[in-house]
Symmetry: C2
Subunit: 157 residues, 2 copies
DNA sequence: CCCGGTGAGTTGGAAAATCAAACCCTCTCC
DNA sequence: GGAGAGGGTTTGATTTTCCAACTCACCGGG
């Protein structure tokens, strides 16, 4: 059932998307990171059909991204929370949000503002930790480690 | 055809995913950023069925993320390249790759290494540009700007 | 005891998306 | 003039999604 990797080439992006790239998965993670980890909250806040949500949650729990923990014994009730690995996906959410804020909304129309502990509004930025510089496309060179890759060199419109 | 947003709540993450969250879209962007922008390369490198690829490409072009430009007049042949907006999605790919590298592969088994202009290997990191600190979940506070949000406060497993 | 409500799903069938393979058209090269 | 290459479109079968309804377990009145 999950035996044919079908991955045309080895790639961490594809591997990660195989876990969280299905419809609703990242919205579920968003909600869970916000602390809204109960089934009905997730249904309401993501818009996912209940059955789909069930399969997504199972997948995320199996992948070690979410943790399903009881918050009531009788009746058994569960809440989903991010694991450490799940929290480490937050940067993905941040960069998605930053792009949407920049390209899809006016400055005064952003659906949500995130405040950083330093007191400023967070405008997530990706840097190279070695030199501290903001990462720009033209500063990158790809070095495939396995066979099957062709890299034609960067090209911008 | 795109009239019913169905968005249970306003959110830049959801809005961005509506454009690039379908299967293969981000893999297409990966290839295009690497300079592999021709139809057959995309078919081979992403594994997408040709018809699906066609609809994904149209969507990305319509969204202003890719540019479809002829590289031969007769016969007409096209190549897809990232626009500026498309390039600004690279941080999303970087963070996905970083997560996959960290959680899905051994250190010596990474499918691809990216070299930054500073000479070091790039290990993408998200920072707050105001204070320069690495962004950590517990330093964030969400401030919804519109109705319909409940934020139960962060919770970690 | 019976009624309504909440929480967390499961079930069933219709509607939409995906897939693989085949097909098409226009060149170019031999 | 036959064999590709490139960039798609068409055709049916297979999967997924979707949505509404249903279940099961409990709680809180009246």
């Amino acid at each position: 059932m999950a035996a044919a990797p079908k991955n045309p080439r080895p790639c961490s992006i594809a591997d990660t998307l195989a876990l969280v790239g299905e419809k609703y998965s990242l919205l579920v993670l968003r909600e869970v990171c916000l602390g809204n980890g109960r089934f009905d909250q997730l249904v309401r806040n993501t818009g996912a059909p209940r059955d789909i949500l069930t399969t997504r949650l199972r997948r995320l729990v199996d992948a070690g991204i979410l943790d399903r923990r009881p918050y009531s014994e009788r009746p058994p009730r569960f809440e989903y929370r991010p694991t450490r690995a799940g929290l480490e996906l937050e940067p993905v959410l941040m960069t998605l949000m930053a792009w949407g804020d920049r390209h899809l909304h006016a400055d005064d129309d952003r659906p949500m503002v995130i405040e950083h502990a330093c007191g400023h509004e967070l405008v997530p930025q990706v840097i190279c930790p070695a030199c501290g510089d903001t990462v720009r496309h033209e500063d990158l060179t790809a070095h495939p480690q396995a066979a099957g890759w062709t890299v034609a060199g960067p090209a911008v419109a």
